[in-house]
């Protein structure tokens, strides 16, 4: 034990033997006892290789021991230190301080968005975990025989869910999700990316049920495609792309009754029929004729500005027969293919 402690000390000492720099950080504070927030500004001396997390550690060690934040692995694996740096969610341990110091820029560190703040930079992850739990984050192989050893999966099948498997559950994507700001019940990018990790897993046999649930209220069609999740994810999961894959899978399973799915279908049908979007069909086909009638005053405002194209002479692209033939060709091709790569039977892949 002593040897380990000494090793740790040596590493730290080694780090601080490096060239150092002076960094200033503005940190959002929140005191749950008084319910008051404020910004504190700290200046610390840190190694030139320091991260935002190292700078926070230096503040805690030398300026204010009450500063609260989460951390653990310090190497972008545990997902504990998600916080906003200059307004954008990032892992503090993956964000270098040097470029800010060299630019003479004082960074602002604040807690992640879309989650309640407990103290300073610590947020309550309960709503995050509730949503992860809601998508059943484990394999359901139904009644398939459980193999005696591990259930292996082909590299080709793994590749399909590789990106989604990289998620470290840090919450950076959720922090910035524009739909969640507006609809806190939206499952959101982290839970949906996790859901695709199981929907796309060849060993999972709960695909239909999963997609049925995910394609309903507060599910995949709540996504507003702001792409903040892809931009913020520190691990390259690209949650928005996972949501799009869930959309495609739910179409394959025939779950197209949600207004969002109907909206998407109008685009598909429009290109087939004439090339461009048929705007006048979009409203009634997405929200239903009854709701469209309720929206007539709104439609009249648009019509007065010349924004309602004549539904009787929709735009026709030249040579659109090519597109029709293409659609038919691809539908025929898709019919001949399995829905997705199938899992190798457990007995066939056991070693021995």
């Amino acid at each position: 034990m002593a040897a380990i402690e000494n090793a740790h000390f040596t590493t730290l000492k080694g780090a601080y033997d490096q060239e150092t720099m002076e960094a200033t950080l503005k940190v959002r504070r929140y005191d749950p006892e008084t319910g008051k927030s404020r910004f504190d500004t700290f200046t610390v001396t840190i190694p030139v290789t320091a991260t935002v997390l190292d700078a926070l550690d230096a503040i805690k060690d030398t300026c204010d021991g009450t500063l609260s934040y989460r951390k653990s692995c310090r190497m972008s694996v545990c997902g504990s230190c998600g916080m906003r740096v200059d307004g954008g969610a990032a892992l503090a341990c993956k964000t270098s301080m040097r470029k800010f110091v060299e630019a003479g820029h004082t960074i602002t560190v604040s807690p992640m968005g879309n989650l309640p703040v407990i103290k300073d930079l610590v947020v309550d992850m309960t709503p995050f975990w509730d949503k992860i739990r809601a998508i059943k984050p484990y394999l359901d192989t139904k009644d398939a025989d459980t193999p005696a050893k591990e259930w292996r999966i082909n590299p080709e099948d793994t590749a399909l869910i590789h990106k989604e498997s990289l998620c470290i559950l840090c919450g950076c994507c959720v922090s910035e999700c524009n739909s969640m700001e507006s609809d806190p019940e939206f499952l959101g990018p982290a839970a949906l990316a996790k859901a695709y990790r199981f929907v796309g897993d060849a060993r999972d046999k709960d695909t239909r049920e999963r997609l049925r649930d995910l394609s309903g209220a507060h599910g995949i069609w709540d996504c507003t495609r702001c792409y903040f999740c892809n931009q913020r994810c520190p691990k390259g999961v690209d949650p928005r792309d996972a949501i799009a894959k869930l959309g495609a899978e739910s179409f394959k399973e025939g779950f197209t009754s949600d207004a969002g799915a109907k909206h998407a279908k109008v685009f598909v049908d429009s290109t087939y029929k004439g090339g461009f979007l048929r705007e006048t069909e979009l409203v009634p086909k997405t929200i239903g004729p009854a709701n469209a009638i309720k929206d007539i005053p709104f439609a009249l405002q648009l019509a007065r500005a010349g924004k309602v194209p004549n539904p009787l002479s929709p735009h026709k692209a030249k040579d659109n027969d090519e597109v029709k033939r293409l659609w038919k060709l691809l539908e025929k091709e898709a019919k001949g293919q399995p829905r997705r790569a199938t899992a190798t039977h457990p007995d066939a892949v056991q070693e021995g």
Binding site: W221, Y227, A244, F267, L302, E322, L326
Partner: protein
């Protein structure tokens, strides 16, 4: 900036947002760039086809890119964020995967469509006129100073994120619209929601969620003292302009702030007439004071 572009106006500018198409053509003429028509192109899919039928999306995108190639242009000019992202996403997917491109081209050949060899880039008008030679050329035609006009830039999402596909500028702190607003002699107004979502992709399927997003830029731009909002995306425009009254009912606050297409703002600074900028085609009308600051010459009796 190129001398010739394969012009891809997309659905909205061809249909409900025709004022964007006419303004773009007028500004292109002033900039002395040729817009080559592609009469057989389809919708880019707007993210919807990508989500519902990803393979079909890749094929129709390749067909669009192939037509641009056949027109002898190496760059497609877009005027819509959603078209820009969708075409660029498909372009990257097709260029990175030779087997995929071969399969797509075999299918395109089979139906008699143009194939795609991988030689096209997709650029938004904003990118072409806010930097380099295009910016210099715009400054030389921006003969009118829109002095006193306070303009809130609204970027929208799909011209900024994901940066690895778009990548023109810092997606958290973009400056291209501000640069152009200043080149027009107007004053850029800063506010945090300028890089956030307008809610348009879900405004029909999830109206309340979308309106919750839409009120943010409207409220913040007005609180910051903006006279108008300018956007490079016709979907954002439709959301901010046509859904503005619904956003007002949702938030209990009156807005009444006019929304300009980027090409309209540039056009006003270049002295292009109302008959081409067509501000009358907006649901939220220009107030007399904004009209005066835009100094757009109007011809009496112009058809909308």
């Amino acid at each position: 900036m190129q001398e010739r572009y394969a012009y891809y106006p997309g659905c909205l500018a061809s249909l409900s947002q025709k004022e964007l198409d006419s303004s773009t053509r007028a500004i292109a003429e002033k900039l002395e760039i040729e817009l080559v028509e592609m009469p057989s192109v389809t919708c880019c899919g707007a993210g919807d086809i990508h989500e519902a039928k990803p393979d079909y999306y890749l094929h129709i995108s390749a067909r669009i890119l192939g037509q641009a190639e056949q027109s002898g242009c190496d760059t497609i000019l877009t005027i819509c964020n959603v078209c820009t992202l969708n075409l660029r996403q498909a372009n990257i997917a097709l260029k990175e995967d030779a087997a995929l491109l071969n399969r797509v081209n075999d299918n395109l050949k089979e139906v008699g469509a143009a194939t795609y060899q991988g030689g096209v880039d997709i650029r938004h008008l904003l990118w072409e006129v806010s930097a380099g030679e295009g910016y210099e050329r715009f400054k030389s035609i921006a003969v009118k100073s829109l002095e006193g006009l306070k303009v809130a830039p609204f970027y929208g999402c799909q011209i900024l994120r994901p940066a690895k596909i778009l990548g023109f500028e810092n997606s958290d702190r973009p400056e291209s619209l501000e640069r152009l607003i200043m080149a027009c002699g107007a004053e850029p107004i800063d506010y945090p929601a300028k890089v956030k979502c307008c809610g348009f992709p879900i405004v029909l399927a999830r109206e309340d969620v979308a309106l919750g997003e839409l009120v943010q830029p409207l409220e913040q731009a007005m609180d910051a003292g903006a006279d108008v909002i300018v956007t490079p995306c016709p979907l954002c425009h439709l959301s901010l302009d046509a859904w503005q009254r619904k956003a007002a009912a949702y938030s209990g606050r009156e807005f009444g702030i006019p929304i300009l297409h980027l090409a309209q703002l540039l056009g006003a600074a270049a002295g292009i007439e109302e008959s081409e900028l067509k501000f009358k085609r907006h649901v939220t009308r220009l107030s007399p004071s904004v009209k005066a600051k835009l100094q757009v010459p109007s011809v009496v009796g112009t058809k909308v």
